[in-house]
């Protein structure tokens, strides 16, 4: 559709400008605050990397932990979610529909509630409770619906049903057509889902805060800690590190979204 620049009342532009300022200023402020000697004096106090180094020394392990956790979350949701998405996409039974509804409950319900439930059920299993696996489980429960939904909607496309029937008519067994035909055909959606899961896991706080122990801290947990107890410069530098990690992933996610839209329509 060709877009003619249409007349907009100036009031709308004003609101847009003010809100844009509101949204972008803190990001810029926090980047600046993490890189100056003294926040109170602002840029005139000179630029430095000492806060970044301080943060890395004190909280560096949380960055690694979050990255590993997010990676593990992607791996687990892939292994569990892609076959499940296939089953739900092909099943004609009502149970499949009900299960899919159930699966999205951890997203509809506040993370706090899911965390409490997990603590209630497994809090007494000390080894599990104090390990990273406990947090991983929470993340997977929260991100699995996204993987299943995103891959599932790609698998439901009519062309894919025909592709699978064609492969079957040529004699392909289930593993052959699942790995050789279906996965390659929905690869963009799988990649997009992985990026989404990664982003969600990196930024997850509500659930993680309830489940963590001093020995199993993630990046957002560390952030909360630093905001409460450290100087603004340190908090800002830590936030900057988070931004550096998350930005490429978000952009890749958006690029993937555009790619899928272009090639497969909505």
């Amino acid at each position: 559709m060709r877009h003619h620049p249409q007349k907009m009342p100036p009031a709308m532009w004003l609101i847009t400008a003010i809100v844009t300022l509101f949204m972008l200023t803190p990001m810029l402020l926090s980047i600046m605050a993490g890189l100056v000697e003294n926040y109170g004096q602002g840029l005139s106090s000179g630029l430095t990397t000492r806060w970044l180094r301080d943060v890395w020394a004190g909280y560096g392990n949380t960055v690694i932990v979050s990255l590993l956790l997010a990676g593990a979350c992607v791996a687990v949701t892939l292994l569990l979610g892609v076959p499940c998405a296939y089953a739900l996409a092909r099943s004609r039974s009502r149970w499949a529909h009900h299960f899919e509804e159930l699966l999205t409950l951890p997203v509809a319900v506040p993370g706090l509630a899911s965390a409490l439930a997990l603590l209630l059920a497994y809090g007494s299993v000390a080894h599990f409770r104090q390990s990273f696996a406990f947090i991983l489980v929470g993340h997977v429960v929260f991100t699995l619906p996204f993987m299943v939904r995103m891959v599932g909607s790609a698998l439901r496309r009519k062309e894919l049903v025909a592709l699978e029937e064609a492969a079957r008519s040529l004699g392909a067994s289930f593993p052959q057509r699942f790995l050789g035909i279906l996965i390659p055909a929905v690869l963009p959606s799988i990649v997009a889902a992985c990026l989404m899961v990664f982003t969600l896991s990196m930024g997850e706080f509500n659930l993680t805060w309830m489940l963590h122990t001093p020995l199993t801290r993630t990046l957002p947990v560390g952030l909360a800690d630093s905001y409460a107890s450290m100087r603004i410069e340190v908090g800002s530098a830590y936030t900057l590190i988070f931004l550096i990690v998350i930005l490429p992933v978000m952009w890749a996610l958006q690029a993937m979204g555009h790619f899928i839209e272009k090639h497969y329509g909505k």
Binding site: A166, R168, S169, G171, A172, S173, Q176, P184, A185
Partner: protein, 353 residues
């Protein structure tokens, strides 16, 4: 190419869906080895359902049986039924080349690389895709994709070839050209084929025999020409070609006579008792007003359709009739003409005969 075609025997196959709708009523059908049979009908008539049952993509209701030659394949899944299938939108594997697509069935079944190359090469020649072996489906035209789909389906020497509206996705001009190519190819392959379509010209051009279907039932099976000339069911008459409908009173029906514009005509025996008669536009002759025993009529409309003229004729006391005449016929709008229909061209419009 080696031919493994078998005959197909369908006995009392029915399909009822989960929500209770009847996709197919118990149906019997026999297809000879090497024959091309068309399943023809409007959307929703059950033709695709029947095709998918033959393929093994749908399970028929209990009591149904399907035989390929002498073996009962009713409970054999599609992976092992040795059928070839051409889908409506071709379903070519997008990330594989033409070569890889065609050879897929062979590869799955563990054929040697040499064997794959040989068969793929043969088929590329047969469907005339030379030079395009390394292209991906996205780079091909609609007609080329259709040929790849066909080659892929026959590469593993299936017992039966099934085509699901293979020409529907193409535009009109291309459709005609490919229709003839497809007909020729099927004749060359001498493979048992079932071809689903809603286009009667396609069915007439490609198939040896055809089965006209409506609402889950087969109404009539036979050669195209006999279905056209002697439809056993009014739906068959109206679906294959076009017809004019003419009413007559019960009284006239009993005496098997038709009064058209004041002229009485005796109808052939097979029309006896029918209160509605059908006649094809091409059997309505438009002659001079003085032609003996012709019905006086007026030309209401004249449409030039390129290879023929379509005239709309008004006759006193009846709804307008359509007549197809030659391109060079001199009739103009408003002319008073004589309408003549040879008695044997009338067909009765009732189900039981």
């Amino acid at each position: 190419m080696e031919n493994k075609s078998v005959g197909v025997d369908i006995r009392q196959c029915a399909k009822t869906y989960a929500d209770g709708t009847r996709g197919l009523h118990p149906t019997d059908l026999t297809i000879e080895p090497g024959e091309v049979l068309a399943l023809l009908g409007p959307s929703g008539c059950g033709k695709t359902t029947l095709l998918r049952i033959i393929a093994g993509l749908e399970t028929p209701d209990a009591g149904s049986r399907i035989l390929f030659g002498t073996s009962d394949v009713t409970h054999v899944p599609i992976e092992r039924r040795q059928v070839g299938m051409v889908f409506q939108h071709y379903a070519l594997f997008p990330q594989m080349t033409v070569q890889a697509n065609i050879g897929y069935g062979l590869r799955i079944r563990g054929a040697s690389a040499h064997e794959q190359r040989r068969v793929v090469g043969e088929l590329v020649d047969l469907v005339r895709l030379n030079g395009l072996e390394h292209k991906r489906p996205g780079e091909l035209s609609g007609g080329q994709r259709q040929r790849v789909a066909l080659a892929r389906a026959v590469a593993s020497r299936p017992r039966v070839l099934l085509l699901d509206e293979p020409l529907t996705a193409l535009d009109a001009k291309l459709k005609e050209q490919l229709r003839d190519e497809l007909a020729e190819l099927l004749r060359q392959l001498r493979i048992t084929a079932v071809h689903v379509t809603h286009d009667q010209r396609e069915a007439l051009a490609i198939a040896d025999r055809m089965a006209v279907m409506q609402a889950g039932k087969i109404l009539q099976v036979g050669h195209g020409e006999s279905l056209y000339r002697q439809p056993a069911h009014p739906f068959v008459a109206t679906f294959l070609g076009r017809v004019n409908q003419v009413e007559r009173s019960a009284d006239h029906a009993a005496r098997n006579q038709l009064v058209l514009g004041g002229v009485t005509q005796t109808c052939p025996d097979h029309c006896a008792g029918a209160t509605q008669l059908l006649v094809r536009p091409e059997d309505v002759e438009i002659l001079g007003i003085d032609y003996p025993s012709s019905v006086p009529a007026t030309i209401a409309r004249r449409v030039f359709l390129g290879d023929h003229l379509q005239l709309t004729i008004t006759v006193a006391g009846h709804p307008a009739l359509l007549a197809d005449v030659s391109r060079d016929h001199g009739a103009q709008v408003g002319d008073r003409v004589g309408l003549f229909i040879a008695p044997h061209q009338w067909m009765p419009n009732r189900v039981d005969l």
